[in-house]
């Protein structure tokens, strides 16, 4: 029983990390069709933000809560800069955005290496996050529980923004029918930019959260970007809930496979499961039906 709960929690915890990394992608890839490989580097930027903030504010608890909004801002601004300079002119060839943003990712990684040095840096977790919480059946690390809560908060927050605010309605309008949205007077240009801001900002938040789990290095983002994209692909485009389910499902699967085999074989098995899953549902868990041929 305890082993089972432990495994389940390990899976959910992994899922919540994946979800934080993938949530912004679900917006920018799922909804705008841009494949932003630099998303991983926005995560990395968020992590370094936490590192810099902790250099200024020594109290680990305060610096964490300052870092989260600041990480959002840093990631978001980097995203807007990328959108405005390069991606704007490339919406009609989404595949090429992948390579362009990969180039941007290389540059950002090297920048981080030149600014912060190649060795990893550490961000101290606040005292109340370094212990464990007793859930009755088992003990779980507080930091992981915090990230789980943070990811749920991010999903709920994003859901509220999309559902209730005028901006959210505009985003959903543009997603469902870009041309129509444009003809009814929605500025797709500024909507795209805001979508990118939010999506990239979420990457920054993910980066801050990751500092609680391990050290921060220039290649931090690369470790997560592939899995994050897999989550979006498996979840299906156009809807956030697909990504949520996919993230937790992949997390639990990975943990379960790891338990019965090894971490590396588990990775391969998860890949196989996704390919098989796409045989059954090529559009992912959820998809927005359209009439277009593509």
């Amino acid at each position: 029983m305890e082993a089972l709960v432990n495994q389940l929690f390990a899976g959910l915890s992994l899922g919540s990390v994946l979800l934080l990394a993938a949530l912004g992608l679900a917006l920018t890839f799922g909804q705008m069709g841009v494949i932003n490989m630099a998303h991983g580097e926005f995560i990395m930027a968020g992590a370094y933000t936490a590192y810099v903030v902790q250099g200024a504010i020594s109290d680990a608890g305060v610096s964490l809560f300052v870092s989260i909004p600041l990480g959002f801002l840093v990631g978001g601004l980097m995203g807007v800069a990328l959108e405005a300079t390069l991606l704007r002119r490339m919406y009609h060839r989404p595949l090429d955005t992948l390579l362009v943003t990969w180039g941007v990712a290389l540059i950002l990684q090297q920048l981080a290496r030149d600014i912060f040095g190649a060795p990893n840096v550490e961000v101290r977790a606040p005292g109340w996050l370094s212990g464990s919480v007793d859930l009755g059946v088992t003990q779980v690390p507080s930091a992981r529980l915090f990230i789980l809560a943070l990811s749920i908060a991010a999903v709920v927050g994003l859901g509220v923004v999309l559902r209730t605010t005028p901006l959210g309605r505009r985003i959903r309008g543009v997603v469902q029918n870009r041309d129509l949205a444009e003809t009814v007077g929605i500025s797709t240009r500024s909507t795209d930019r805001l979508t990118f801001f939010i999506g990239s900002g979420l990457a920054g938040v993910a980066g801050v959260a990751l500092t609680l789990l391990g050290s921060t290095g220039p290649t931090l983002g690369t470790n997560y970007i592939v899995d994050a994209f897999l989550v979006v692909v498996a979840g299906g485009i156009g809807q956030i809930k697909g990504s949520v389910i996919a993230a937790f499902a992949l997390g639990v699967l990975q943990a379960a496979f790891e338990y019965s085999t090894t971490a590396s074989i588990a990775k391969v098995l998860v890949f196989v499961v996704i390919v098989v899953f796409l045989q059954i549902r090529p559009q992912g868990i959820f998809s927005v039906r359209t009439r277009s041929l593509v």
Binding site: L106, K267, V270, P282
Partner: protein, 363 residues
């Protein structure tokens, strides 16, 4: 103007390209380059072979394959396993296994003691993996970004799998320290030169194969599938088959390149096959012109040459430069350097088009 002279003219250009390429690789390079440089060029030629395959799959077929490192790696590891077993002698155990493993050769290594099995597997294993994956993915109409991401995930999974298997496949260290290649001593400079010739001839052969494909009806069909997959379906073709053929060929080419890479470079490790090297294969293709015949190979050689020249003395500069290349070429010059001349010509050609648009009503 009738089409025949145009076609002839096109062919002379290509044939000339082959002659120049053959002279440069087989006569000029061995004459002027030191053994060390020649071996380096041999490595670049291996990358070029991968690039030709990517040109076929991505440039002509529209499949952005970010996982060619997997097929490269499969070919390379098969060859490396054979060479390791060969070095160990009949019934012998490769050195690293004695160090990290149980001291016994795993059963799945045994077939690669045979040179014939190895040579067949170098092509067949990557091709088979691509066939299974391609059939599964393309038949369910998974394409575009989805395909790109899946192929990238495959590369990630493959590298992680290799890293995890220290005892049986060398883990992070990979396989290295080879002494002979099918009985030829690898420390003998003459044999190293022969390896270069082998790689160069292979590149030329691969280019010839791809040239024939591009000229053929299949090549036209592949472009049609790239641009309008659904339309092709309504003409009675199954686009999945068309795409799978190109994907499998590209995989086989990568496999052959990997198999040549191992004796030339002397090592294969997960660092050569993962996400990063897989995507790095693309930049040369993009620069040279993804839809052209010679562009991908030339681009790959040029990029690899630049990387070797700059990355050692200015590692930081090289990474910035490589990143900037991706951004600049793909965003602003999607046709690659090969398109620069064409862009100027097309600008002139577009003008008169509307004038002739009226003629030619149904008879």
């Amino acid at each position: 103007m009738s089409a025949i002279p145009a076609r002839l003219k096109g062919n002379t250009g290509v044939l000339l390209g082959f002659v120049v390429g053959a002279l440069a690789l087989l006569v000029l390079a061995p004459a002027v380059l030191s053994d060390f440089r020649l071996s380096l060029l041999g490595r670049f030629v291996c990358y070029a072979i991968v690039a030709v395959g990517i040109g076929l799959a991505w440039g002509r077929g529209g499949m952005l394959t970010l996982g060619q490192g997997v097929f490269f790696g499969l070919g390379a590891y098969v060859m490396a396993m054979h060479m390791k077993l060969d070095d160990a002698g009949p019934g012998g155990v490769p050195d690293f296994m004695q160090l990290y493993g149980s001291g016994e050769v795993p059963g799945w290594w045994e077939p690669f003691r045979s040179p014939v099995v190895t040579l067949v597997s170098v092509i067949a294993i990557p091709a088979l993996v691509a066939l299974v994956l391609g059939t599964a993915i393309f038949r369910r109409r998974v394409r575009g970004a989805y395909f790109a991401i899946l192929s990238q995930a495959l590369a990630a999974a493959f590298a992680i799998l290799l890293i995890g298997q220290q005892a049986t496949i060398g883990g992070t260290n990979g396989l290295n320290g080879f002494r002979s290649f099918f009985g030829f001593n690898l420390f003998d400079p003459v044999n190293k030169r022969m390896l270069f010739y082998l790689a160069a001839v292979t590149l030329l052969v691969v280019l010839l194969i791809v040239w024939q494909l591009y000229r053929s009806r299949y090549g036209e069909l592949l472009v049609a599938v790239r641009d309008q997959e659904e339309r092709v379906r309504f003409l009675g073709y199954d686009p999945a088959t068309v795409k799978t053929v190109a994907y499998v060929l590209a995989a086989a080419m990568a496999g052959v390149a990997g198999a040549l890479f191992v004796p030339i470079v002397g090592i294969i490790s997960p660092a050569n096959v993962g996400v990063v090297p897989s995507i790095a294969f693309l930049i040369g293709v993009a620069i040279g012109g993804r839809t052209t015949l010679f562009g991908p190979a030339l681009g790959a050689i040029a990029v690899a040459w630049a990387q070797t020249t700059f990355s050692e003395s200015f590692p930081s500069f090289w990474t910035y430069f490589q990143g900037a290349l991706f951004v600049f070429v793909v965003a602003f010059l999607p046709g690659g350097l090969a398109s620069v001349g064409g862009l100027l010509r097309r600008r002139k050609a577009i003008e008169p088009a509307p004038v002739v648009a009226k003629e030619g009503a149904p008879a």
